[in-house]
Symmetry: C2
Subunit: 227 residues, 2 copies
C-alpha cells in the first residue's frame, strides 16, 4: 500500500506598516520578514508563519505569528488567499493560507528586531523564499485596491487624527498625491468620520482639527475584512 506524505497546512502573514522612507520625509510601506534558519531555502527571507495547530483558528494563528514577529497586535487582519501549487515547496506539498495585516507603526516601531527578523521597504525587497515574492505582490495589490473602495485608512491612524494624517496614509499606500481640499470633502461626506472639539497645535501653521472614526467606520472595516 502506497501512502504519500500528508499535505502540510501552514498559515503565514504579510504584515504592513507605514514607516519613514530613507529619502524624503514621507512614509512608505514596509513589511517584516524572517530569515529561514533551516532547509529548504535556508538563509533566504520569508514571510512569518508556521504550521496550523489543530485547535487554533486560522486568524488566531496569523495574529499569533504577527505578535511573535513584531510584538504588535494587528489593527486590521484579513485572509488574503490560499497558495497551494504543487511545486511551490520542493519536496513536500504545502498549502499556505495567507493573511495580511496592518499595524500602527507608532506603538512599538523598532521593538522587535533581531538578527533574523528585519523590516524591508515593500518596493525594495531581498530575494524571497518559495513563492513569497508573488504573495507579497498580491497582498500589495489587495492593500491598494481595498484602500480605494473601503475605509482601510482607519487601521493606520490612531484614535484621534488630523485629515492630513489620514491623507498621508492614502498618499503613502497609493504612492500618489491627493488634493487636500477634495480629500477633505470626500472623507467628510462619507459619514465615516466625525470632527472633535480638539485641535492639534505645534506645526508652524494653523492648528488642524482632530477627527475620530464613527462606529459605522469601525464596523465597516471589520465587515469588509470578511468580504
Amino acid at each position: 500500500m502506497i501512502t504519500s506524505a500528508p499535505i502540510e497546512l501552514a498559515v503565514s502573514t504579510v504584515i504592513f506598516a507605514l514607516r519613514p522612507g530613507d529619502d524624503s520625509g514621507r512614509r512608505t510601506v514596509w513589511l517584516p520578514l524572517v530569515r529561514r534558519i533551516r532547509e529548504p531555502q535556508q538563509g533566504k527571507w520569508a514571510l512569518p508563519g508556521g504550521p496550523l495547530e489543530p485547535a487554533q483558528e486560522l486568524s488566531e494563528s496569523a495574529a499569533f505569528t504577527l505578535n511573535e514577529t513584531t510584538g504588535l497586535s494587528p489593527s486590521y487582519l484579513e485572509q488574503l488567499y490560499a497558495f497551494g501549487n504543487v511545486g511551490r515547496s520542493p519536496g513536500n506539498r504545502v498549502v499556505s493560507i495567507i493573511y495580511w495585516a496592518l499595524v500602527r507603526e507608532e506603538e512599538a516601531a523598532e521593538a522587535v528586531v533581531t538578527e533574523n527578523v528585519r523590516w524591508f521597504p515593500a518596493d525594495d525587497l531581498p530575494e524571497l523564499a518559495f513563492d513569497h515574492a508573488e504573495i507579497v505582490e498580491y497582498a500589495l495589490g489587495r492593500l491598494r485596491g481595498k484602500l480605494e473602495y473601503s475605509n482601510l485608512g482607519h487601521a493606520f491612524v490612531g484614535e484621534l487624527f488630523t485629515l492630513s494624517a489620514l491623507r498621508e496614509v492614502y498618499e503613502a499606500v497609493l504612492d500618489k498625491r491627493i488634493d487636500p481640499a477634495n480629500f477633505r470633502r470626500q472623507v467628510e461626506t462619507s459619514g465615516l468620520v466625525r470632527a472633535t472639539e480638539q485641535v492639534q497645535t505645534g506645526g508652524r501653521h494653523r492648528p488642524a482639527r482632530l477627527y475620530r472614526f464613527t462606529a459605522a467606520a469601525t464596523q465597516l472595516a471589520s465587515q469588509s475584512a470578511s468580504i
Copy 2:
C-alpha cells in the same frame, strides 16, 4: 506522547448557472448540491467537494469535482475563501478551500441529475450541511460584487451574443432592471466587446446585432480570477 488527529484539507466548489425560474420567463441563479451519504450530517445537502490529493492542484481539484457533479467544464473558476473554523465540522478539524465557478447552462443543462445531485435556486436552498449556507451566501456576494466591476458576464454567454442576452445575465444576477440604452453604451465604450457582421433574427422585432468579446476581455476575466 499526545498526537492529535491531523487537520484535513478539502476543496469544495460553489457552482453557479443561470436557469429559467419557476415563475416568469426570466432566468435566475441556480447551483447544484449533493446529498451527503454518510455521517456526519448524513442526508443533508452540501457543496460538491472532496479531500485534496497530494499531487493535485487546488483549482484542478475544484474543476474535477465540478465536472463530476455537473458534467460541465467551468467557463470561470476562482478561489473564494478558505473556511477553517475549529467548530465547523464536529469531531474533526477540516479546512475547506472553496472555489466558485460559473457554467454556461445551454451546454448540457439537465445532463447530470441523480438521486443525490440536484440543482436549487440560489434564493431557495434547503438546509445545508456544516457551514455551507454561510459559504453560499458569501459566494453570492462575491458573484454580484464582481459582476459590477469586472466583465464577468463573459462567462455566462456564448461566443456570440446579443447585448440583450448579456444584459439579461446582469439583470438575473443582480436581480434588478437595467436600462437597455445605458447598458449598451457602457458595454460598447468599455472596449471589451466587438460587434460582428451577423445579426440574430427570429424574434418578432428588429434583429439584434451579435457581438463577441475581445481578447482584452477574456484576458481580463482570467486575470481578475486571481485577484
